[in-house]
């Protein structure tokens, strides 16, 4: 299959008869990257699957009105990130009521009970260290360290300045180091 450009897919999507075909091509191209962005935020595979499906429904509904002020992928990544964060907030509220309990506790439970985690002890400890980071630092660290994205790309998705992102990443690395040293890994 020839890999169509985003503009070609968008053009195809705007023709009513080809809408489904175009969306199928878009999913094939980006579904895995969107999945991993969501999975690293919500941790559990089942939760990531739910959030990804809701994300794709939103993309389907909004794609007709998408005008390329930003890149298509940046726009989709932003929807996925927002959906994942809202999902976590809802889960937190359901679990702890209006008191808003500890998100870290919730994520650690997801990490330990997820049958689709296949890392060794060191990787598990690293994931535990990431889970205890504040939300923004956790997002930036995952995108920079694991996905090796450029600060400019992350800036477009999180709508934060590059300077602030660099500072967040630096703080995240320091906190992870201290966490791992304290656990003697």
């Amino acid at each position: 299959m020839i890999n169509k450009s985003d503009d070609d897919i968008l053009e195809l999507f705007r023709e009513e008869a080809n809408k489904e075909e175009a969306f199928g091509l878009l999913l094939k191209k980006y579904q895995e990257r969107l999945y991993w962005q969501i999975r690293k935020i919500v941790i559990s595979h089942d939760d990531a699957d739910d959030v990804l499906q809701n994300t794709c429904v939103k993309i389907w509904k909004g794609l007709g009105n998408f005008h390329s002020k930003s890149q298509l992928f940046t726009w989709m990544y932003r929807i996925a990130t927002n959906e994942a964060l809202s999902f976590l907030k809802d889960k937190q509220r359901k679990q702890f009521g209006s008191g808003n309990g500890d998100l870290e506790e919730l994520l650690l439970a997801s990490l330990e009970s997820d049958p689709y985690f296949d890392g060794d002890t060191a990787q598990l400890e690293l994931q535990k260290a990431i889970v205890q980071l504040p939300e923004k630092q956790r997002l930036v660290f995952n995108m920079k360290y694991f996905d090796e994205m450029k600060y400019e790309e992350i800036s477009g998705i999180l709508q934060t300045s590059v300077g602030a992102l660099k500072a967040s990443y630096h703080h995240a690395v320091k906190k992870i180091e201290s966490f791992l040293i304290s656990r003697e890994v």
Binding site: L27, V57, Y116, D118, G119, A122, Q123, F146
Partner: protein, 134 residues
């Protein structure tokens, strides 16, 4: 520290994902259509009810505006109607004064044109000025 992704997905997960998502979208759209059809009658009629209310207000406002600028004959006719309505609604304690009013209107209908001319001749009113102003 290893940089490998420690998270895994079920086997063939990504192979079926596209079809699953497309099915979910179709279900959502079907549900949306059904919800629109299932809308209670009152919600479906809402726009028409607003339209009817607006027309009623416009007609009511037009009546008020026209009644203030319409011909004297209309005013007299309206006054006659209003008087009858007032009579119909007064309680027994006010009947005497209403009867006096009625007698006044009945007496007035017996006045002839000659009586009026005589009255005007006896008064200090200049009939020429009066006619000129008609």
């Amino acid at each position: 520290m290893k940089k490998d992704n420690p998270y895994k997905v079920p086997e063939n997960y990504f192979d079926n994902l596209g079809a699953q998502i497309q099915n979910k979208i179709k279900e959502e759209e079907k549900q949306l259509d059904q919800d629109e059809k299932k809308m209670p009658l009152i919600v479906q009629l809402k726009p028409y009810m607003w339209m009817a209310a607006s027309i009623f207000v416009l007609v009511f406002a037009a009546r008020i505006i026209l009644s203030t600028s319409i011909s004297p004959e209309y005013k007299i006719a309206s006054f006659g109607n209003e008087k009858n309505q007032v009579i119909a609604h007064v309680d027994s304690s006010e009947i005497d004064s209403t009867e006096i009013d009625l007698e006044f209107f009945e007496d007035l209908s017996e006045v002839t044109s000659d009586d009026i001319i005589d009255y005007l001749s006896d008064s200090d009113i200049d009939t020429e000025i009066l006619l000129a102003n008609l």
